[in-house]
């Protein structure tokens, strides 16, 4: 009897030890991810803090608290590089490209999904094959062709190619397969609706949530584009933000204060948008990741 009691005691002791060990592991994991998160944020913090100091201080020591030279650095920067103009240019190009890309990709994906025309599988395979080709392969031919068309230094070569995005079309074919029932199209046809109207009135609204998901992907990748705008556009006034940031680096060779301000301007607006919508953005990225 007493032995049994003893046994029970030692058992609960072991249980206790196990619990303690698990909570220790949990604490360590917590500390680990908090450290990882801090490491991830430090570069941004450091950029913002450094941008508020004079060059002489930046070169001398490690800066941890804000200084008072932000405005002076900022003024030197915007005197030479129209960085806000670049921001607006980037926004214009990106928004128009995203809308065009979404519309035509949905159109194409829906076409492949719902119409049994001759050659459908072969053409669809051709679309998928274009995904395998790296983007820079045709860049020199692209440059010369745009030159022949007289489109250099305009936004057309940056916006129009958004019409054909193989990945987006592939994505929307799957969406249309899953979320646009053929019965609804049939009944709309019987009611005398024309084909394009069926797409606009029935299919597009049904694909709505996926438009948001892919819109975020298209927006980010267009916003980040660098090589195309750099070679297509010559006027600084037309240039996009990434190209201007790159030019800040070469133009303010030793003026670190101005360089840091340039970085901050390219980060802060994104940071604000992300802080407001991060839940939706991340949710959509994860949804997109599964669909891929």
């Amino acid at each position: 009897m007493s032995q049994m009691k003893n046994n029970q005691n030692s058992f609960s002791d072991e249980e206790l030890k196990k619990k303690k060990r698990i909570s220790l592991i949990k604490t360590l994991i917590w500390i680990g991810i908090i450290i990882a998160a801090i490491i991830c944020l430090i570069p941004f913090y450091s950029m913002i803090i450094t941008s508020t100091h004079a060059n002489s201080e930046i070169t001398r020591k490690l800066l941890l608290v804000p200084g008072d030279r932000l405005l002076a650095n900022y003024e030197r920067l915007v005197d030479v590089v129209p960085i806000w103009r670049g921001f607006v240019n980037s926004l214009i190009i990106t928004v128009i490209s995203t809308i065009i890309g979404l519309y035509f990709s949905a159109l194409g994906g829906y076409g492949f999904s719902k119409y049994n025309f001759k050659g459908n599988p072969i053409l669809f395979a051709a679309v998928l094959a274009t995904m395998m080709v790296p983007g820079q392969l045709g860049i020199i031919g692209f440059y010369r062709l745009m030159n022949e068309f007289g489109l250099l230094n305009t936004y057309w070569p940056l916006i129009l190619p958004s019409v054909s995005n193989a990945f987006a079309l592939f994505f929307f074919k799957q969406v249309a397969d899953a979320s646009v029932p053929k019965e609804m199209m049939e009944s709309a046809r019987i009611d005398g609706c024309r084909e394009l109207n069926i797409f606009h009135r029935i299919a597009l609204p049904l694909m709505g949530p996926s438009l948001a998901t892919l819109g975020i992907f298209l927006f980010i990748s267009k916003w980040n584009e660098f090589l195309q705008p750099m070679i297509i556009l010559f006027d600084q006034e037309l240039q996009t933000l990434p190209v201007l940031i790159a030019s800040v680096r070469s133009q303010f060779n030793v003026d670190y204060g101005a360089q840091y301000v340039g970085i901050v301007i390219s980060i802060i607006p994104i940071l604000i948008v992300f802080a407001l919508f991060s839940k939706q953005i991340i949710g959509n990225v994860m949804a997109g990741a599964i669909k891929e």
Binding site: L137, I139, I140, G141, A166, I263, I270, A289
Partner: protein, 296 residues
């Protein structure tokens, strides 16, 4: 039914036409035209002059081109192995039930991915600047080093810094992809395993890893194709001593748009394409990759 008898199908061509028209003008056209230009010596000012295979002969003897291939592969390996390890570890941790404030961590780790690569490149170049960079200032102030380290003046350190930049930019995205994969695993599988008395290691090896394998393969393939095209961020960090961080696409950019040797630039583009195609083909030869893709 009457409705199905009406043949509406040819309408499909109108729906897919914009894609193909745009693709022919802005995609395929330039690619084929580049192929033609790769046989010319076009300097951008006069008409391209056909010179046959001369550019390709030059390419296979060009030590800078060969070096750019090995640089790109080295940087890719240095960035992809730690990147996927960290992304998978973080995804497994953040998938645990006891982690609260999960969304905040998702946001922090994903944030670098939406910043323009140019900005990330300039950031790292400034951080590792040997005179003013915060890394040296930090190491000096806590007394680990006595003199600033000239990070970007050492070929291997410079490559590692470029790899670190790519890692910093992309690990969050891969983490989200892994997390999405983990969340798609049915919960009852874990419950069944728990009832059967499987240990955590067994659960991870027998359930989690096999079921997220398609996701692992997806990230592997995208990172081969994307990782070999790295350009923006390394361009900001520079070529490194003795071209040690010159990537394939940087080399293409310099030949064409800095030295105005467009014809040879087009040849470099095709050379880089062949390298990327071979790397992708090798990835598909890894046991299990093709099978899983088909099963999907």
């Amino acid at each position: 039914m009457f409705g199905t008898k009406i043949n509406k199908d040819p309408h499909g061509y109108y729906f897919i036409a914009p894609f193909f028209i745009s693709f022919f003008i802005f995609g395929l056209g330039p690619i084929l035209y580049s192929f033609y230009l790769s046989f010319t010596n076009w300097t951008g000012f006069d008409q391209p002059e056909f010179i046959g295979l001369a550019n390709y002969e030059r390419l296979i003897q060009d030590t800078v081109f060969l070096k750019s291939i090995s640089n790109t592969l080295i940087i890719w390996i240095f960035s992809i192995i730690p990147q996927l390890t960290i992304a998978l570890t973080l995804a497994l941790i953040l998938h645990e039930k006891f982690i609260r404030g999960r969304h905040l961590f998702h946001a922090i780790f994903y944030f670098p991915n939406i910043i323009t690569p140019i900005t990330i490149g300039v950031m790292f170049a400034l951080m590792f600047d040997w005179q003013t960079g915060s890394i040296n200032q930090f190491l000096l102030s806590i007394g680990i080093i006595n003199e600033p380290i000239y990070w970007l003046n050492d070929p291997w350190l410079a490559r590692i810094i470029v790899a670190l930049t790519m890692m910093f930019q992309n690990f969050g995205f891969n983490m989200l992809v892994f997390l999405a994969g983990l969340q798609a695993i049915p919960k009852d599988l874990y419950e069944a395993a728990e009832i059967d008395g499987a240990s955590r290691v067994q659960t991870a090896l027998r359930i989690t890893i096999p079921l997220i394998r398609p996701v692992l393969i997806f990230t592997l393939i995208t990172s081969v194709i994307g990782g070999l095209q790295i350009f923006d961020a390394p361009l900001m960090i520079g070529k490194g001593p003795d071209n040690s961080t010159l990537t394939m696409i940087m080399n293409l950019y310099e030949a064409a748009f800095v030295r105005y040797d467009y014809g040879y630039g087009a040849t470099i583009a095709y050379g880089a394409f062949v390298v990327i195609a071979i790397a992708t083909a090798i990835t598909f030869m890894i046991p299990g990759v093709r099978k899983k893709r088909e099963a999907k």
